[in-house]
Symmetry: C2
Subunit: 149 residues, 2 copies
Amino acid sequence: MAKRTSLKDSTCPVARSMEVIGDCWTMMIIRDAMLGARRFGEFQKSLGLAKNILAVRLKALVEDGILKLEPAADGSAYQDYVLTPKGQAVHPIMVALRQWGEDYAFKPGEPTTIMVDRKSGKQIKKLELHAADGRLLGYGDTTIVPSTA
Amino acid sequence: MAKRTSLKDSTCPVARSMEVIGDCWTMMIIRDAMLGARRFGEFQKSLGLAKNILAVRLKALVEDGILKLEPAADGSAYQDYVLTPKGQAVHPIMVALRQWGEDYAFKPGEPTTIMVDRKSGKQIKKLELHAADGRLLGYGDTTIVPSTA
DNA sequence: ACATGTGGTTGCATTATGAAACCATCCGCC
DNA sequence: GGCGGATGGTTTCATAATGCAACCACATGT
């Protein structure tokens, strides 16, 4: 009985999210998909991970509705992995992870990459948390309650 | 040679973040810490995970500077695990994960929890991505470039 | 037709996870 | 200060996940 414990039935949305996308390779696959990767081989070359692991992850992502298979854009008989709306919705999480990493996981001057607005080419603003009425919220200004809906 | 591959030296901030906090239990620990948990036993009871796993995760979190140990607030000889600024900075990631989970991992009507503004008690606004000049950005409006700094 | 590229699956060694048992302090109480 | 339970772990051992390499089926290029 050393089965990995599942948080799929937790009532906490954070737990459920982590259950689905809280895996290093899974997130890296989504990241690459957002940057345009579509084919099995592209993911494998970019990530350098074992093919069996990639196969398992891709299958899970398709089952979870984050990626979907569609006929290859280049007209070949192969298939493309493309992000569904649910997969595209991971974007803010990716941004949050990226900004935290930029701030806390790199020494000053260390080479890295940044996210820019495609139109202006300028670095995007940091994510901010706002109340329903627009007030800026910081750490400690929020709390969790059971949903009453 | 089946050592779990490390992404610590990746130049991608997302990869580095995932390396540190991209673990289900790790994130759950941070979540509980944000909700006020401080003691080993509190985490264990709340999460229901094996004590050895918890011990390993807590040690890693302290080494990574996300939690720090300090004398217990209740005056006992035990120690409290409290979030450092680096740990508090995970808050936006937590919010992003939560909002994605709320939207995509729950059936309508299923019991869950929501994050509210402590002052008004109302649910917080969804995270939005903005350009440097304030324009609202959607998925596809951003791209990644090497940092030139 | 044949070699090569693509997209996997299978087998096996190594590593991480997890339940339960065990152990060292610490605390409250008498 | 001595005793029982709470606290905060460590150890042991079984099971599950990861990763490398080898293999395989089908598509494509020439």
